[in-house]
Symmetry: C2
Subunit: 343 residues, 2 copies
DNA sequence: CGCCATTGCGACAACGTTGTCATACGCATC
DNA sequence: GATGCGTATGACAACGTTGTCGCAATGGCG
């Protein structure tokens, strides 16, 4: 296949290369008739602009980076997270003619900051989408800001850092889930908190407290377990909670993995779910549908958030200016079989 | 930040830009002393070659594409699959200075072929890594071959198509798993086959048959369920199998999701695992560790396979020629709690 | 009718590299 | 001491675009 250049198109359409360029880039001041001629030539020759050339000349890379923490560093379940975001980003990138570069990275602030700087310098990214939990780490955000590269954070729990970001109503939806449990008659509702570094997960606990308050229930410190997002921590907390003299009738875990841990312990102890114990999680990872009983949880619209983030980033790239506000895409309660009427 | 070019480095090192280029690209015929001078200049100026420029001039994109089927088309559990491959690829790309472009796509042969052609033309990929099951679809492979773009397939079950590929010992390991079940005393071992289009999954069934033969057991057609890789199909097959007058004492499913389905049914029917029924899966998806009881399964070294695929692709890109042989990376049996002595 | 603004288009330089070729030098060979 | 060859280096073109500028044609307005 001989590579066809802008020159070939120009010759065939009997115009200058500049005019072809104008048509390709949808620039104004081209008459409708020439535009048609050029487009005809383009499609018969199957012309594709050489990205490298346009990148070189226009000093833009048409590259967007997705930076996220290394999923293997955490727990593999979070992989679904990344895939969903990727899908959302890709769909937007495709239509806007950007390419997506993915960049998983370690977890220590300092190292990541250096890594990102290297990435930007090397690949000359036009913009960055920053995945959670990185989007809530001051050092990372600062590092990117220092490079002057436009970026948008995806930060479900909202962000304390001033940055353009897309969030979801984590806190509110947790209040809703709590209210839902209360509406099933539960009065002793336990909560298992997540990893303290994970800001997004922290806001879930706040939502739980909001929910209790809304329903006129009081927070019982004995009914709060502190987990770290892992299944094991879910199991540990579940054991402690179920060993209480007055155990909870419902347990709401800050993520699905910990909820899965609770369910495992229940299985071990032959505690029927949801008849004897209701369990709710958060994230709607694939696991949630797969375990028995299927898990009531919260579904975050990650792909959609990513889409919005990408669209917004691209808008920033074109307009040149950033809006710092927080866009919120609502999450949804997913009611499955692990929750039911209080015993 | 003022962008520093090869010119700046040349000026500072008091050499020509061509010499800098030579140093950067590790070309021969540069004296050790100049090389040091240039390298010094490079690091004090923090020079990064402009990728677009070198791509333009050298007519290479330094881009590798990862093409895989859209995970949402199948089932989300497969997302772990993709992430693992990505990690393997990225680690190699990084050290070889290539960038990775990911490209999920639909599932119909014809559409994908067109999509891939577009991708190659648009992004001018230097090479492609083709993920399963695409690596076993003749139309896709042919389409890529037609473009003349070098590619390496990742195809766990081996490949009937002549193509450079990295595989794993799917079949052998399934024989091993079967032998393991037999060694626990199981004589009535059932198998649940996977989606018929999924070549990799088909070879698992062959391995099962090998295993039976090796242990002197006969294949009982009544003990073969035909699933389609989904949890639901696993449940369906499990019901049929467990309804038999002489139900199996062990069920080996061609993937973890279906095995999870079996476990769900067992839970429903209060059939204790592994005391009354042993269950084995394949894939070692995150779920396998999370469900109760944790699932005995097979772990495919996907990241490692991807690494090898990438390394091989890059070697092909440099040498210009392709080796058609199939590289095999062994899988491992993962024994967990869902299998035990036959009742 | 003359003037200026607008529209449509092309010539040409420039982006930052790498490839090609020429050149200068040192050194062994005859 | 001329010849040839290998090594180290540089001058310059070229890659395929887009940006800048200039120029011609058109049209509205005084």
């Amino acid at each position: 296949m001989p590579k066809v250049t802008i020159e070939d198109v120009a010759t065939r359409a009997r115009v200058s290369i500049k005019t072809v360029s104008r048509v390709v880039n949808n620039e104004p001041n081209v008459s409708e008739s020439t535009r048609r001629k050029v487009n005809a030539a383009i499609s018969t020759l199957n012309y594709r602009p050489n990205q490298s050339a346009r990148r070189l000349k226009s000093q833009r890379s048409f590259l967007i980076g997705l930076v996220y923490d290394d999923p293997s560093a955490y727990e593999i379940p979070s992989s679904g997270y990344v895939i969903n975001m990727q899908q959302g980003l890709l769909s937007v990138c495709k239509e806007a003619n950007y390419d997506l570069l993915i960049h998983p990275c370690g977890f220590s602030d300092r190292r990541i900051a250096a890594e990102i700087k290297g990435l930007i310098e090397h690949s000359r990214l036009d913009g960055i989408v920053l995945a959670p939990p990185l989007s809530n780490m001051r050092g990372i955000v600062k590092a990117i800001e220092n490079t002057g590269t436009p970026f948008v954070g995806i930060s479900p729990g909202g962000s304390t850092l001033r940055q353009p970001a897309v969030a979801t109503n984590d806190r509110e939806i947790c209040a809703e889930m709590t209210a839902h449990l209360a509406s099933l008659g539960h009065r002793r509702i336990a909560f298992i908190t997540g990893h303290p570094d994970h800001k997004a997960v922290a806001s879930r606990f706040l939502g739980f407290q909001d929910g209790l308050r809304d329903c006129g229930l009081k927070l019982d410190a004995a009914l709060v377990g502190s987990g770290d997002n892992s299944i094991e921590s879910g199991e540990r907390c579940a054991r402690t909670l179920l060993d209480l003299a007055r155990p909870p009738t419902a347990i709401f875990a800050a993520n699905d993995d910990m909820a899965a841990g609770v369910i495992r312990v229940a299985h071990e102890r032959r505690i029927r779910i949801p008849e004897r114990l209701s369990v709710a999680g958060f994230d709607d990872v694939p696991l949630a549908r797969q375990i028995y009983p299927s898990l009531t949880t919260v579904n975050q619209p990650l792909a959609k958030m990513a889409e919005h983030a990408a669209r917004r980033l691209i808008r920033m790239l074109h307009s040149g200016e950033a809006s710092l506000d927080l866009e919120v895409i609502p999450s949804a309660l997913v009611l499955r079989d692990s929750t039911g009427l209080a015993p």
